[in-house]
């Protein structure tokens, strides 16, 4: 862009959000160029600059977002939304430059509504901060992803995130009542005032998971829950995963634990051994159940009886408690995979009739095609009908050359996700799509993709919103 036009746009953006909230400084551009996506981290590690936004803007509310989008539409420049940058799919990387819109100034807590059991907040609020606000009144949001401290409300909504107590309390898309969204043309809309209704299709669910391609979420009403009277843990060791699946499916027809995490043999022998201390072979499973004490007593009895039927060894509560204490430790540098390793989480989800088959097929596909790549997994979000695989590949010595490393990375991902799709899985369970998996969306949806494309075309005719993400 020529300097003249650049300066013209800059002054308009400054007018929209205030000079101090509009930057063209290198520090701000760099800070918003590397997210949690392995490729962007690798690129930076190799001393390469990632694509950067030209204008970094931080609006304070929907009105300012609206002004920014109107400017962007007029000049037809891309707008990429950035929450915490904690996304793993490259969703927040401004691959085409233009405007990088950071949401973190929209962090107001407008209302803690104890009657309606929700917190109304700006979408740029760090999730942990709304959890604190809930805690101050004796409640909890019950959304405990490992990135609770770094990602935003809007980011979780945009990527359809999930936390560790999801089996009882649900995924982020179950935790939101109403949302305020700014459409690409700058119109500010509200979704319906209650999330369950028969007033046509669900507007919430159109924007949840849309990754900044259809609009920008600026406000949300997030559910709060009473704190459980007791939260108990129980660790189990299953001889094999099949038995664990059978036992868990049966259990879920009776009640919902909060935490359910089943680790395959490889992850039990590595991460679990290192951090929780379980040193025996087998598949470790950690269960938490919580609520009113009388109910929890009953649940505990049912849990022990059910799992005993499937030959699970009861490891008591110690491992589970340790796991709870250390649940975030897994993600710190030194505990988590890190460069120079190449790694990725290919989470997918399917009903019980397919999930085991998907796991074995993905493991086989990755380990056969890439003998130097390890495949480990756990299953951590469970429903009455199925479960999610959090499967990871780890390559200890990827190519040093960044282009070669990128090629290998993308190839492994294509192999893994295609295998999941071929056996009845989906592109992703809770990390979203971003630029990483956009190419596979059409493979999953086939002609159904035209629904998303149609929405994109009509809401964002200039194609300014987060280009090359979500396969749109």
């Amino acid at each position: 862009m020529n300097e003249f036009l650049f300066t013209q746009i800059l002054t308009e953006l400054e007018d929209a959000v205030g000079k101090e909230n509009c930057s063209t400084k290198l520090v701000d551009k760099v800070a918003h160029s590397v997210d949690y996506f392995w490729l962007s981290r690798m690129w930076a590690d190799r001393g390469r600059e990632m694509p950067m936004g030209d204008f970094i803007v931080s609006p304070k509310d929907a009105q300012e977002v609206s002004k920014v989008l109107k400017i962007a539409n007029y000049y037809k420049i891309p707008v990429t939304t950035w929450g915490g940058g904690g996304g793993t799919q490259g969703g927040a990387i401004p691959v085409c430059g233009g405007i990088l819109l950071d949401t973190k100034r929209m962090n107001q807590i407008y209302d803690i509504n104890e009657q309606g059991m929700y917190i109304e907040c700006g979408a740029g609020a760090i999730y942990k901060h709304i959890e604190w606000a809930a805690n101050e009144r004796g409640y909890s949001t019950m959304h405990f992803p490992s990135s609770l401290t770094c990602s935003t409300v809007g980011g979780f909504l945009a990527h359809r995130g999930i936390g560790v107590v999801s089996t009882k309390y649900g995924k982020i898309d179950d935790m939101v009542l109403q949302m305020e969204v700014v459409l690409p043309n700058g119109d500010i809309i509200n979704t319906s005032s209650a999330p369950k209704h028969a007033a046509g299709p669900d507007l919430n669910q159109i924007f949840i998971g849309s990754e900044g391609t259809l609009g920008i979420i600026t406000k949300a009403q997030i559910r709060i829950y009473i704190q459980p009277e007791v939260r108990r843990f129980r660790g189990f060791l299953f001889k094999n995963m099949h038995a664990a699946f059978e036992a868990s499916r049966e259990l879920l027809q009776i009640f919902k634990p909060s935490v359910m995490r089943l680790y395959d043999d490889a992850e039990t022998a590595s991460l679990i051994k290192k951090i929780v201390g379980v040193a025996k072979p087998g598949a470790f499973m950690n269960i938490a159940y919580e609520g009113k004490k009388e109910l929890v007593d009953v649940e505990e009895k049912i849990l022990l009886e059910t799992f005993a039927k499937y030959g699970a060894e009861d490891l008591g509560s110690e491992y589970g408690e340790k796991w709870w204490e250390e649940k975030i430790t897994f993600f710190y540098p030194g505990h988590m995979m890190d460069l120079p390793q190449m790694f990725g989480t290919m989470d997918t989800i399917a009903p019980y009739d397919k999930i085991e088959e998907i796991y074995w097929a993905m493991k086989k596909a990755i380990e056969t095609k890439y003998p130097n790549i390890k495949f480990i997994a756990h299953f951590s979000h469970w429903y009455e009908w199925g479960a999610m695989i959090y499967d990871r590949f780890i390559c200890d010595n990827p190519p040093q050359d960044p282009i070669e490393a990128m090629k290998l990375h993308n190839e492994v991902w294509t192999t893994g996700v295609r295998t999941a799709l071929a056996h009845g899985g989906v592109v992703n369970d809770h990390h979203g799509v971003g630029i990483k998996l956009g190419r596979l969306m059409k493979e999953q949806y086939g002609p159904a993709m035209q629904v998303f494309e149609g929405l994109k075309k009509s809401l964002d005719p200039n194609g300014i919103m987060n280009p090359f993400k979500l396969g749109l």
């Binding site: 400084k25 520090v27 918003h32 930076a44 904690g86 100034r105 710190y332 540098p333």
Partner: protein, 365 residues
Amino acid sequence: MKISDKARQQAESCRFCWMCRHVCPIGNADGQERNNARARALMVSYVIRGTEKLEDIATNMYECSLCGACANNCKTGWDPRLFIQEVKTQIILEGKEPEYIRKLLDNYSSCGAVFGKMDKGAQQLLQKMQEEYSDGKVLLLAGEMAVNKDAESLEKTLKLLSKGSESICLDKSADNTGYSLWYLTGKTKETVECARKCAEALNKYEKVVVYNPVELSFIRHEWKEWGITLKARVVGLNEELLDLINNDKLKVRKSDIEYSLQDNFAYARELDDVTSGRQLIEKVGIVKDMLLINKEANLAGQLIMNEYMPNTMKLVAKNRWMNAMNMGCKTLVTENPDEHVLLKENVPEGYKVITVEEMVLDNLA
């Protein structure tokens, strides 16, 4: 860029980690992505690789308060302040400091304080105190922040300590620990020299009561690491006040007034003292805690940064007031001049902030 292996290792570790974002008081205040430990580390790692230039990242290093909330929250044992301070030294050595930092350093050279010339009122008050408390075996090490920005609180402290029958004095020549120079330039020859001079002056006294916990921590940790030792016994103000009360040298009355401690990070995290402030409150009233206390203490302000980023400091103080308001904490008690001054400047209607010494003074029997 020349930094130690340890600092480099630390930066390489933090650069892709976001886990402490939520506790950074600066990032929480201004909402800027560059203001958290990982962003600073990413910048440094790019400079190490020669991709970006030191001057491009310089301002970002000066947006850190060194409050250590990130390090405290971190499970790795790393401390981002290590690389931040080493990078500042490089910035200074290469003459790449931002203009506003140069201005503070110029102030330091010309008036001996980064804040520049004191306003007249404060100057007169200080002079009066210096005359009144010119002689004694026990020194109140007031420190640069209190001397320049909160002289009124110093006056109250002197009054209180002298009531406790201590032979207390102020000494201009023993007042500069080198903290602000260290904050701005890291460990340079000048910083160490300044600290050494201060130590010599302190050694004339039997006992030194350090007013500002940030400087107490600086003396206990950085001075020690630099091989600067002290003969004089050094204590913090909280400890001194508790001692006077426990030994009946200061008589206080207890009421049912609720006070909420604004834990200073230096006491809580660097000096492992989360009790002295609360014990003082318990002597005169009732502790009412808010969220983010003890080791999780949330910074409420930093006076050097207030010189060049006052809007952010306002927001930092306002965020802390928000914590207090959410828990119905009406009276905040501060342990550090920076937090006292900035909380006071931003006090919401119906709320109050006082220093620990003011609280004790208000409740003398």
